[in-house]
């Protein structure tokens, strides 16, 4: 009976999704030859002027890296306010948690769109978008790491007369360094992937190059850029995974 209710609920949700998305296999079937033509026409990939692609790829890595660093600076005080062992004012706990949820809930792409309007086109807007969204993600991951840490050293420091924030800074932050550094690497790796599309809204990076090529229907160029994007994200993924393995 209970299983039937689960299956019924699952099917109802799927039905609602189908109703909202309106999938049309006929349209997909009709579009497939066009898609296949573009892909076939995209080979061999056009790597001419590779310097431009490389510069845009470097821009992507730079804005993701700087965005993650700025996010860490923003997230650190928020984390200390949003983790029970370190929060000096319990009344601030839930409001700061809500702020972190809000930052995390708005995608970096949306933040970048807003910042393009505010500070103009280019990677600076993208970096700001990445930083704000990631500050929410890092704050949540870090505060969870602090809350999961062994409370005994913190209690020992407090019993010796240390203030809550002081004890957290001296004991808790170093104790959770492997977890917090690992979370930061994970967010950085995610940001490299996410930053490859920021160029679509004019926020810099390799996405800008991709958008130009798609607008010109230059599929040889599109395939070349996609190859670079896949290589970039795979490299970031492997590097981050290797570093995290060493940390934990």
């Amino acid at each position: 009976m209970r299983r039937a209710a689960w299956i019924g609920g699952f099917l109802a949700i799927q039905a609602a999704c189908v109703w909202l998305v309106e999938p049309d296999l006929g349209r997909l079937w009709a579009g497939l030859p066009r898609l296949a033509g573009w892909i076939a026409g995209g080979f061999p990939p056009d790597f001419s002027g590779f310097g431009d692609i490389a510069r845009r790829a470097a821009e992507t890595v730079a804005l993701a890296t700087l965005g993650t660093t700025v996010a860490a600076v923003l997230a650190l005080p928020l984390t200390l306010l949003a983790a029970r062992p370190s929060a000096p004012w319990p009344a601030m706990y839930h409001p700061v948690r809500a702020l972190l949820d809000a930052l995390r809930g708005i995608d970096g792409f949306v933040f970048a769109l807003i910042f393009v309007a505010a500070v103009g086109l280019g990677p600076f807007a993208g970096m700001l978008g990445v930083a704000l969204h990631s500050a929410g993600s890092l704050g949540k991951l870090w505060s969870e790491a602090l809350e999961a840490a062994d409370p005994a050293p913190m209690e020992a420091a407090r019993s010796a007369g240390a203030g809550r924030a002081q004890a957290a800074a001296v004991v808790l932050v170093p104790e959770t360094l492997p977890q917090t550094a690992s979370a930061m690497l994970y967010v950085w790796e995610f940001n490299i992937r996410a930053s490859t599309v920021l160029g679509l809204v004019g926020a810099g990076g390799i996405g800008q190059e991709l958008k130009n090529a798609v607008d010109l229907l230059d599929f040889n160029r599109v395939i070349a850029i996609l190859i670079v994007i896949v290589a970039l994200t795979l490299a970031a993924d492997r590097l981050s995974a290797a570093l995290r393995r060493r940390l934990l």
């Binding site: 007369g161 240390a162 002081q166 800074a169 001296v170 004991v171």
Partner: protein
């Protein structure tokens, strides 16, 4: 160096946790330089009594100690990624500002005091070793050194040898007794090994069901 200390006086201490009386009207005293052992079965209230005296639990009654007592925790409660010296310096945080401590700009005098405390517990030469690379006995000694740099008038130790092998346990208890004599420090230590309590303490108190009973 023998210091003039007031000793520890506890009068009518009662603690209720979750509506249940865990300690009832406990009174005791520990003279300067004296080691008093507290024994009793698990759940008798030994840890609660020490934590209440240390001010970590709300309690009724009076604790006269001439300042905040230092507590050595059962499982040493060290930060594994900090060095032995840094763990000892945690005991001195109350005398440092936030930024100074957060940025590890330890005052020179405090570093010297931490090294002196580590030497006093027999760990000179291990100041820069991470706590998680020390043996169980060495960790408990670091915890004692951390309590010493608090410059507390009273030392409390909650089953400090519970997880140690017999030889190491004797070493740690001998150290506590030597510190009491050398520094005139009143020490109240809970133990669950009656043999050790009789050998290393000047007096043994027995706690049962939250009340002190004749030992």
């Amino acid at each position: 160096m023998l210091q003039s200390r007031p000793g520890l006086v506890v009068q009518g201490l009662s603690v209720a946790l979750g509506g249940r009386a865990v300690l009832r009207d406990v009174s005791l005293d520990v003279a300067p330089g004296e080691v008093v052992a507290l024994e009793g079965p698990s759940g008798a209230g030994k840890t609660t009594l020490l934590r209440a005296i240390a001010g970590l639990l709300p309690a009724e009654g009076a604790v006269l100690a001439g300042g905040r007592p230092a507590l050595v925790f059962q499982q040493h409660a060290l930060a594994g990624r900090l060095t032995a010296r840094e763990n000892v310096l945690v005991g001195a945080l109350a005398r440092m500002g936030f930024w100074r401590a957060a940025l590890r700009l330890w005052p020179r005098a405090e570093v010297a005091a931490a090294d002196e405390a580590l030497a006093a517990v027999g760990l000179d030469g291990l100041e820069a070793r991470r706590a998680d690379r020390l043996s169980g006995g060495q960790r408990q000694r670091v915890a004692i050194a951390r309590a010493l740099v608090q410059r507390a008038p009273v030392l409390l130790a909650d089953e400090p040898v519970a997880s140690l092998d017999p030889a190491t346990a004797e070493g740690v208890l001998g150290l506590l007794r030597d510190l009491a004599l050398a520094q005139g420090l009143p020490i109240l230590v809970s133990l669950h090994q009656p043999g050790l309590a009789a050998r290393f303490a000047d007096r043994v108190l027995r706690l049962e069901d939250g009340c002190l009973t004749p030992s």
